[in-house]
């Protein structure tokens, strides 16, 4: 399906790198490295140079912690979105938030995508996306409260649950007025899931692709990779890329990542193996 992400459109077969840009002092991977606005802006410049099509700006870490008010979240992201918008008109700007008021504010500042990592916890977020002309990412969390860790959650069929919840969320977005081509689904690895759930979602990602909605995967350095390989944060790149390859073969469209260059290479290679992307420059044996 052709994607329309706010001001930007992408071809049916395009795969997109969504680079994570944290405006937080305490996110699990970068541990506040881009907390300062100028550091976050340098991160945007870096990932844009590396070829990321999308930046995903977040003002609150996903894990439990000190409560961040709506006002504080806006302080962290709204002006920053405006600054990035002005400097990078061709870059897709996504904002990672579950709050409708924040969604509305960042759309007004120039955001193209609202990435709701918490599965529609605020039911008015779809209205904010529709009114703001933004795309929306509809995730599956199993209904957990934002910023909570999974605890003894079980599913009869985690993939069926992910499909049911994300497609229902997509329908709500559609009803609210978000264009069909601006709705993305995300099974949300680790969110409301233990490691076995995330592995199964990865293994069966093709079933989400078969819904016809474009699929986003957020795999980067997550705990399911760490637990599977018994590796700490900082040592999970290879495992992340292995999971990325499986999702790419299944047909995921958007990859939310810390490492843009490595992920792009994996996705391009797998896309070419799958026959969806020509090689960059092939002459061997064809001279």
């Amino acid at each position: 399906m052709t994607l329309r992400l706010g001001r930007h459109t992408f071809d049916d077969d395009a795969t997109l790198m969504m680079a994570i840009v944290n405006r937080t002092p305490d996110s699990f991977y970068d541990k506040g490295a881009t907390w300062a606005e100028d550091k976050a802006f340098e991160r945007v410049a870096l990932v844009a140079e590396q070829g990321a099509e999308i930046v995903d700006i977040g003002g609150i870490k996903a894990a439990p912690g000190i409560e961040i008010s709506e006002a504080e979240e806006k302080d962290r992201v709204v002006d920053f979105v405006a600054r990035v918008r002005a400097a990078y008109p061709s870059l897709v700007i996504s904002v990672d938030t579950w709050r409708a008021s924040v969604g509305a504010a960042v759309c007004a500042a120039g955001a193209d995508v609202i990435n709701d990592a918490w599965g529609g916890a605020d039911p008015e977020l779809v209205d904010a996306a529709a009114e703001g002309g933004a795309a929306i990412v509809c995730t599956h969390t199993g209904g957990v409260t934002p910023r909570t860790r999974p605890y003894r959650i079980e599913y009869d069929d985690v993939v069926a649950a992910a499909i049911a919840d994300t497609t229902a969320y997509a329908s709500r977005a559609l009803d609210a007025g978000v264009p069909r081509e601006s709705i993305v689904i995300d099974p949300a690895h680790d969110f409301g899931k233990n490691t076995f759930h995330s592995l199964e979602v990865t293994r069966r990602l093709g079933e989400l692709v078969d819904t016809g909605w474009p699929v986003l995967v957020s795999l980067s350095n997550k705990d399911f990779v760490g637990e599977t390989l018994d590796l700490p944060v900082g040592s999970r790149l290879v495992g992340t890329l292995a999971a990325t390859a499986v999702c790419a073969l299944a047909g995921a469209r958007i990859y939310r990542v810390h490492e843009v260059v490595e992920t792009r290479q994996v996705v391009d290679m797998v896309s070419s193996i799958a026959g969806r992307r020509p090689p960059r420059r092939a002459i061997r044996g064809l001279q």
Binding site: P278, A282, L286, Q287
Partner: protein, 183 residues
């Protein structure tokens, strides 16, 4: 022109490795006009068919009263007897697909063969001028040249001809030419 498989759409890359050659080939094919007989081996015939289609030649040929059949029916293929040249008596143009050696460097498909450059120089000179001797084409086969079409060309060329060399290079260790002859 050379039968470079990278010219075919089934081998397309995001960045065309033979963009310059492709442009020169297409210009030459357009120069031939619509009534074309192809002299080529099987692979070369595929390349020719594609270039003719790209240049609009197939459509034009289908409109020609002398060649109402699909273009493949007028392709001279490997091992065809001389009598199969009969359709060319109606043709106004020939498209010859072939190339020189594939042994011009250590990275070439056939690795480096010291005889390759002399052979290609002699063949290139003969193709470009009716006053030069042809090198032994059997040696060219040893050097992985694609010469079936060029052998057929020798039977077609008159004693005197003029040639224009549009392309002469070996970007991948294979000798390519694009030439236009007239007589």
């Amino acid at each position: 022109m050379p039968g470079v498989l990278a010219l075919l759409p089934e081998y397309a890359s995001l960045d065309d490795p033979v963009s310059e050659l492709r442009a020169v080939c297409l210009d030459a094919v357009r120069w031939l006009g619509s009534d074309v007989t192809v002299l080529a081996d099987d692979q070369g015939a595929r390349v020719a068919a594609y270039l003719l289609e790209e240049s609009g030649g197939f459509e034009a040929q289908a409109q020609n009263a002398f060649a109402p059949q699909p273009p493949s029916s007028v392709v001279e293929v490997r091992g065809a007897p001389a009598t199969s040249l009969e359709p060319t008596t109606r043709a106004t143009s020939y498209l010859v697909v072939g190339n020189g050696s594939a042994c011009r460097s250590e990275k070439a498909p056939g690795h480096l063969d010291e005889r390759a450059h002399d052979f290609d120089a002699a063949l290139g000179a003969a193709l470009a001028s009716s006053h030069r001797d042809w090198p032994p084409l059997d040696l060219g086969e040893t050097l992985l040249g694609s010469l079936d079409g060029i052998r057929r060309l020798r039977e077609v060329l008159p004693a005197e001809y003029r040639a224009t060399v549009d392309y002469d290079a070996d970007p991948f260790g294979v000798q390519y030419w694009v030439l236009r002859w007239s007589w």
